[in-house]
């Protein structure tokens, strides 16, 4: 089934959130069978930090938290600021 327009927008929103705050880099090349995608890993990292249920999927609680107003300091190595 193709994703609905709403779902696609949410997926794109989540991807941009993870790129901004969790240093998600562009996914390139084929994913090995059974592997966990970098996006799923970053999603799980974010869910762990916010004490959400770690599902690795973009569930309602995760999306809700991503949409809350927040501080813009990326949760990544600070070296890039110095």
């Amino acid at each position: 089934m193709p994703l609905s327009q709403d779902n696609m927008e949410e997926e794109q929103f989540a991807e941009s959130y993870l790129k901004k705050f969790y240093n998600l880099t562009e996914e390139t090349g084929p994913l090995l069978r059974g592997g966990v995608s970098p996006k799923t890993k970053k999603l799980m990292e974010m869910q762990k930090f916010f004490q959400l249920q770690i599902t690795g999927t973009l569930d309602a609680d995760t999306l809700d938290l991503m949409k809350r107003p927040r501080c813009g300091v990326p949760d990544v190595d600070i070296a890039q600021f110095s």
Binding site: F49, Q51, C71, G72, V73
Partner: protein
């Protein structure tokens, strides 16, 4: 902290306000910034001096979209502000997104004091905290600048970098800690259900727990219901009306989903409770009979949600119906046909029909320590 002992090497820092937001008066901005810095100065040896020209350690500015640091803002909401960790140049600087509506102390915009206090935490060397009660938690929540007290997690963080304030300061309220589900002595304020989840209330927090998940999610009550009070006394869900009722003192709030219902908060007398009752200790909803039980001291009242009147013959002593329950009921819950009465850190499992006590359990029976 950011690690590597990333901090200022001096305790005397300068700050400069480069420009102002039109959302507030200049005096309000000055006051908010000064007060936000003092949040950190109170608990450390740090001293802040304002300068009006030249380069300060902490340069403060309002800007929108691309504002010259390669970290563009994103328009209204989303990212509110950002700040840079201690270092020379841009290090320590705090930038506020001018596309936000900043306010002095209203909860209809973003309180500049709260956003600034958080950003200055970064300016001084603190990273984000995963404690939902901490100032350094990455998501905004409303705080009143007049009553704000720096939470314990933030105090520990900043003092790990700079140590404590050696100057005597007037004794004041202590730093609030975030309740811990693993604390076996914790006494919950209230317990309720919400659309299949369980809610456990404590101070300004609640845990949401669904049967499908092994990990309860802790959050601020204000993050779910911005108009709800903290430190509530009692709560219950009416499955009939799909509403959650929160009690504090002589008032009750009703929410459907995230929304406060019209004409609430109301007096608790709207449930037929006498005016002599100043607060409810616990409440539960029994869906089969559609009765609401209100626990007040050693007594309880039964309200008929169908007839909208208090049942005759009440109040009754709690231990008349619930054998052995002679201590105060602090929270109550009806779940899967059983009645759970909390008293202190213990939870008593009853049959409502027979009043028989089955088990004495602890909080972690429904609220796991994780």
């Amino acid at each position: 902290t950011f690690g590597n002992n990333l901090k200022w090497q001096t305790n005397t820092l300068t700050y400069r306000i480069e420009n102002y937001t039109p959302d507030m008066s200049q005096a309000e901005v000055d006051y908010s910034i000064e007060k936000a810095l003092q949040v950190w100065a109170k608990v450390t040896p740090l001293k802040f001096t304002r300068i009006y020209s030249g380069i300060a350690d902490i340069m403060i500015s309002f800007g929108s979209r691309d504002h010259g640091d390669f970290y563009p803002f994103d328009g209204p909401d989303g990212t509110l502000a950002h700040a840079f960790a201690p270092s020379s140049g841009i290090g320590g600087d705090a930038h506020f997104d001018e596309d936000e509506k900043f306010t002095f102390r209203s909860n209809t915009g973003y309180v500049l004091f709260m956003v600034a206090a958080h950003e200055f935490g970064h300016s001084l060397g603190l990273s984000h905290s995963d404690d939902p009660g901490a100032l350094m938690y990455p998501h905004y929540s409303y705080g009143n600048p007049d009553t704000f007290i720096l939470p314990r997690d933030d105090v520990k963080g900043i003092q790990s970098l700079y140590g404590g304030n050696e100057e005597p300061i007037a004794p004041g309220p202590t730093a609030p800690t975030t309740p811990d589900a693993c604390d076996s002595t914790m006494v919950l304020d209230a317990v309720a259900t919400l659309r299949g989840e369980m809610l456990f209330f404590k101070d300004r927090f609640l845990w949401r727990h669904s049967q499908q998940s092994s990990t309860p999610q802790q959050t601020l009550i204000a993050n779910i219901w911005s108009s709800a009070p903290d430190n509530i006394d009692a709560a219950f869900e009416s499955l009939e009306s799909d509403q959650v009722f929160l009690f504090k003192g002589s008032r009750v709030w009703a929410f459907s989903g995230y929304d406060l219902q019209a004409n609430y908060p109301k007096s608790i007398t709207s449930f037929g409770l006498p005016r002599t009752v100043k607060k409810v200790d616990a409440a539960l909803y029994e869906p089969q009979s559609r009765k609401i039980f209100f626990f007040v001291g050693k007594n309880y009242y039964s309200y008929d949600d169908v007839r909208k009147t208090m049942d005759k013959g009440f109040p009754k002593r709690v231990d008349e119906t619930f054998s052995g329950m002679t201590s105060q009921v602090t929270a109550a819950l009806q779940h899967r046909g059983f009645t759970y009465l909390y008293s202190g850190p213990y939870m008593h499992e009853y049959s409502l029909r027979s009043g028989r006590l089955y088990r004495v359990l602890r909080n972690n029976y429904f609220l796991p320590c994780s």
